[in-house]
């Protein structure tokens, strides 16, 4: 299961609606690592992830474990990469167990019928995500947090070697945010999954990632360890936010600070 080949993205470009939303992006993640991608709204994080997942058209190459996954057919690629979408589509009247089992699609035969092994695997993942009592409920009836865990369960059940998370914690309260990210991190360490996560929350991004990339206007503005990227100046410059940085070993905590007055008045800066 382990491969030392890293994830190598080179020259990735995505054009949506005539605009270049991802412009010549290159990144590298070591195998089994976790890259956190941050950036302001509209910087192209989501498009970047979807392009790597191969679900939107893109130019460039994405080498992972010795293969250019952009060239793989959908089924093989799905056995390698799975993505937790930012805004998932949840069909009505579908039970949790069936929804999670959709993650086994790339491994199923012609009849699309899950086997005993598939079901056991799904149930195992659901148990780890605290979903075991909910398998018979409709996904649409669940709370935001429960639903997010269901979707992550589906992505994990796909047994990916590369897991893409598109802002996975947006709908979750603090406790569940940590639960979910801890679980993913655990799976990463246990199974050697490589993780690429797009984050809104900069603290979480730095706490769980092993490296970070800052995306601005579709290009990588900075990449490297979190503490190098997350400085008070860079955050002011890129986010227009006023913060103070607290280092904690490898990870960084960002503490927002209130301005002394409205922008533009004396002493506010």
């Amino acid at each position: 299961m382990e491969s030392s080949d890293p994830l190598n993205v080179e020259g990735l470009a995505v054009t949506l609606g005539g605009r270049k939303v991802v412009n010549d992006v290159s990144l590298a993640v070591k195998s089994g690592g976790w890259l956190s991608v941050i950036g302001p709204n509209g910087s192209g994080k989501s498009s970047l992830l979807r392009a790597i997942a191969g679900i939107i058209p893109a130019k460039g190459t994405v080498h992972f474990q010795g293969k250019d996954i952009m060239q793989l057919n959908a089924k093989l690629r799905a056995q390698t990469v799975s993505i937790v979408p930012q805004i998932p589509i949840v069909p009505p009247r579908v039970r949790v167990i069936d929804y999670v089992l959709l993650g086994r699609t790339p491994y199923l035969g012609r009849g699309f019928q899950p086997t005993r092994e598939d079901i056991d695997l799904a149930e195992g993942v659901m148990a780890e995500l605290d979903l075991e009592d909910m398998s018979d409920r409709f996904v649409t009836e669940m709370s935001g947090g429960e639903r997010q865990r269901v979707i992550i369960a589906r992505a994990l059940v796909q047994q990916p070697k590369l897991l893409l998370l598109d802002e996975p914690t947006t709908a979750l309260d603090m406790g569940h945010q940590q639960d979910v990210l801890e679980l993913v991190d655990l799976q990463r360490k246990r199974l050697g999954i490589t993780v690429l996560g797009a984050f809104h929350d900069l603290t979480l991004a730095s706490q769980y990632g092993t490296s970070m990339a800052l995306l601005v206007g579709g290009t990588v503005s900075k990449s490297g360890p979190a503490h190098e990227i997350l400085t008070e100046e860079s955050l002011r410059e890129i986010y227009g936010a006023h913060v103070s940085i607290h280092k904690d070993g490898e990870s960084v905590s960002i503490i927002p600070e209130r301005r002394k007055g409205p922008k533009g008045t004396p002493n506010s800066d």
Binding site: I55, A74, K75, A78, L102, T105, L108, Q113, P114, S135
Partner: protein, 354 residues
């Protein structure tokens, strides 16, 4: 493949033997009921003897007169079987369209199948081409061709518009094509007013049989389209999460979409060619099935076949006995059941059950 050992875990959707047997029993009962009753009263046991008699190699005297025997074998039985096939085709096509368009209200006449068939049939009736009997009658062929052409245009225009794989452009193209074909059909029809009754009667829908000819004619198309739709039902479940996610799960949404639309349109076109425009079956039946067994197409598609077949057989029984010896157009009977059903579903939706 049950899941009976786990206590708290849910059971994944699966087409169990229980479901198949149950659905088959419903279908069998419908066939039986329809054989026994009709505008003409014939003893039930003799009906079965006569049918047995027709098996090659079997020779039984059923005690029926030659006319009664003709009624059983050349009129009643083939009509029931045609109803079975047409009902099954429409229901499965409806379920498949609903899966592809992710809309529970999609019916098999979308994309121009109905309008195209109507135009083809009108042209055939108006030019007097419908003079053959059964297999050589130009009417079903013309209706089928009309459907095929209309759907073809829709797919080309709708699929070609934009690089997006959205189904919205297909639906819009379907609306446009349907409007165009309907306009042409209305124009022709009102120019040739003497054939008004024939056209109208065809549009209302009728399980018309000339012995077994129509059954034989439709069988190859029915078999192919049903086989394809059956094999694609699992893929439709994956398509339910949208095209991007489906792609991330390893299927090719565009390919699945084209195949399913092609097969469902073939099914609907063949059904319309022999029976006119029978409304509601394609919508009511899959909906009803979903209410009972849930939304998984692995169950809904096959069960819709059985229930659709039973539904049409039974409504046809009503169509030919309610006003006996006169016939009600079957479209009237299915609409009569369809409208209240829709109301019922709407109420359940507003109550938050769905």
């Amino acid at each position: 493949m049950g899941n009976k050992n786990h206590k708290k875990q849910g059971t994944p959707a699966e087409l169990t033997y229980k479901l198949v047997v149950g659905a088959s029993l419903i279908l069998l009962s419908s066939i039986l009921l329809s054989l026994l009753f009709g505008p003409v009263s014939i003893r039930g046991d003799r009906i079965f003897l006569e049918i047995l008699n027709r098996i090659p190699g079997v020779s039984i005297d059923s005690g029926l007169s030659s006319i009664q025997a003709a009624i059983v074998w050349d009129v009643r039985f083939p009509r029931i079987i045609l109803g079975l096939i047409v009902g099954g085709l429409l229901a499965v096509a409806g379920a498949s369209y609903q899966g592809v368009f992710r809309n529970p209200l999609a019916d098999p006449y979308l994309l121009g199948v109905a309008a195209g068939a109507g135009l083809g049939a009108t042209i055939a009736i108006v030019t007097g081409a419908t003079n053959g009997e059964g297999m050589f009658d130009a009417l079903p062929i013309a209706a089928f061709l009309g459907s095929a052409i209309a759907v073809g245009i829709t797919l080309v225009v709708g699929g070609a518009v934009g690089r997006s794989t959205s189904t919205a452009s297909l639906l819009l193209a379907g609306v446009a094509v349907a409007s165009l074909f309907t306009a042409i059909q209305t124009y022709i029809q009102q120019r040739e007013s003497s054939t008004l009754r024939q056209v109208y009667s065809w549009i209302l829908g009728r399980l018309s049989t000339s012995g077994w000819d129509e059954v034989v004619m439709i069988l190859p198309y029915a078999t192919i389209s049903l086989a394809v739709m059956f094999s694609m039902r699992g893929a439709l479940d994956v398509l339910a999460v949208g095209e991007e996610e489906a792609l991330s799960l390893g299927i090719r949404p565009r390919r699945v979409r084209w195949i399913v639309i092609g097969a469902a349109s073939l099914a609907a076109a063949s059904a319309v060619a022999v029976s006119g425009l029978i409304a509601f079956v394609g919508i009511i039946v899959p909906h009803a099935v979903r209410l009972v067994v849930g939304a998984s197409n692995r169950l809904v598609v096959p069960l819709s076949f059985f229930i659709g077949a039973s539904f049409l057989i039974l409504t046809d029984l009503l169509a030919r006995t309610l006003q006996s010896p006169a016939e009600l157009p079957i479209g009237v009977v299915t609409a009569f059941f369809g409208a209240p059903f829709f109301l019922f579903v709407l109420r359940r939706r507003s109550d938050g059950v769905i």
